[in-house]
Amino acid sequence: MHMANELLSVPVAAGTLAIAVAGLGFVCRRVRQIITSDKLALMGILGAFVFAAQMVNIQLPAMPGTSCHMVGAVLLAIILGPHAGAIVISSVVIIQCLIFQDGGLLALGCNIINMALVPSYLGYFLYKSVTAPVFSSLRVHIGAMLACVIAIEAGAILVPIEAALSGVLAVPFSTFLITMIGVHFLVGLVEGLITVAVLGYLQQLRPDVVVDFLPGKVRLSRKAVLITLVVFTIVIAAGLSLLASGMPDGLEWSYAERPDQPDFESIVSSDDSTIVAIDDFQSKYSLMPDYSIRTSRLGEAIEQEVETSAGWTSFAGVVGSAVTMAFIWLTARILRKKQPTEA
């Protein structure tokens, strides 16, 4: 879900960065009020914990060979409260960008909003609104699941929206959106299950670490999971049908946009873009592509004449830059040999 720079235009990137910085400034001020200096080390280490927790993978059922890990935003928001949780996850996203180069520098604003601010606050709010009236194991289940799925979905939905605002999408918006929703629904479900299980474990050993305690008993029981899943299916089905009626059908929309391609329907009907890619490679190499035949010879000749000169300049450009880089590299190498190497 880390966005890269290339998915954004400069105005959108600047706007989201400004929003993220303002948001972080606000959150920092709130956290300063709540938290004393002896909690600072705790927040830092919980950030490191999120990194480590992402290395602990779990095998998925029904799909042997695939495994997933938790994201941790909602769990931290439940444990630390939303403000501190948002700061911790934001710092994780920043470190992922700066040290591990996951997500671009300009996209940092988007990533902070999508993965830290929105999931922390939305997740905490949902969890609280379910568990606050009466605290029970079932409510913790439903609350944590609801928080994980909806919070992660909300962040995931923002990705195509931001990309569409930037106007860089070649992929139809609805296809991208549906793919993101589908994939992150699964991610959210697993995240919810792990969050509930970890909360259950904490409840047994250290119920005091959670910011407003875990009274009662939180257990991973089959009945609770089943009821949760049923509640979920209803909520999601209702949500999806609302979404579907509000938007033009993705299939029809992209089909109508391209009347010149009758085979477009079969491509769009598959959600996964990798499958789409494979599909298209197959059809491309098995059939004679028709666009090369379409152009007439006369047109081609004219086109070539125009393009040849442009071709030479771009050739010169690329070769020139390659030569420059080689020159820099060689010079540096020669100069370096003269110096005694250290370390």
Binding site: I94, Y291, W312
Partner: protein, 258 residues
Amino acid sequence: MHHAYIDKFAYQDSPVHRLDSRVKFIVVLVFTAVVISLPRTSPGILAWYAVGPFTILVLGRIPLRFAFKHILMVSPFVLVLALSCPLYDKTPVTVAFGPFFWQTLLGWMRCFTILGKFIVTMLALIALVSTTRFSDLLTGLQKLGLPKLLIIQLGFLYRYIFVIIDRAHHILRARAGRKLRNLGFKVELKTTAAMLGSLLIRSLDTAEHINIAMQARGFNGSWRTISKLQIRCTDYIFAIVAASFLLALHFFVRPVLQ
């Protein structure tokens, strides 16, 4: 510690390493913005923009293999998006490159531009991070106006990432040693939850110990470093060179290559 530090090259010494972190950060930010705002269908021009980060990497003695390995590791998401471009943008175009020219789709040009931009901006980011110590970068960011709380948070996080990851490795190895087959989702979930829970509790204990140690040494919520940032003559030269590089590309190379 069994794993190499991911930013081990930041602790080398070179003219680039000695530059002020603020100047480097701003230059990289501007460079990224300029590269992103380039037109979307002409990959050729990106080769010239790559010269900038390339030079810094070479001057900073960062092995290029390290940089490209890193880029490859973080590329899957972008790769999927880039490869789906040719499926949706099927306007035929003729590409000419030196003596060769061939017919292709506009989508492919977009695909290569996205990949090219990704590589160039990632090179710039790697050039920044692997020539700047993280603590210097944080001090620079604080001087640039980031909230102090966030800086402290980032400092702690960076310091303890590798410690806690080491522990996670121990736990993972223990699981791998005991678990010889797939145990079914429910047991797997329980095991994972126990692993995460115990990791969390150990992290909390560690945090408490660290807090006590830091209180004993007089930590009161502010961060003091001995590294003094100051903008020197070389920093001005670097900023001017970078600016003239970008301006020259903008005014002389871009009109020719498009």
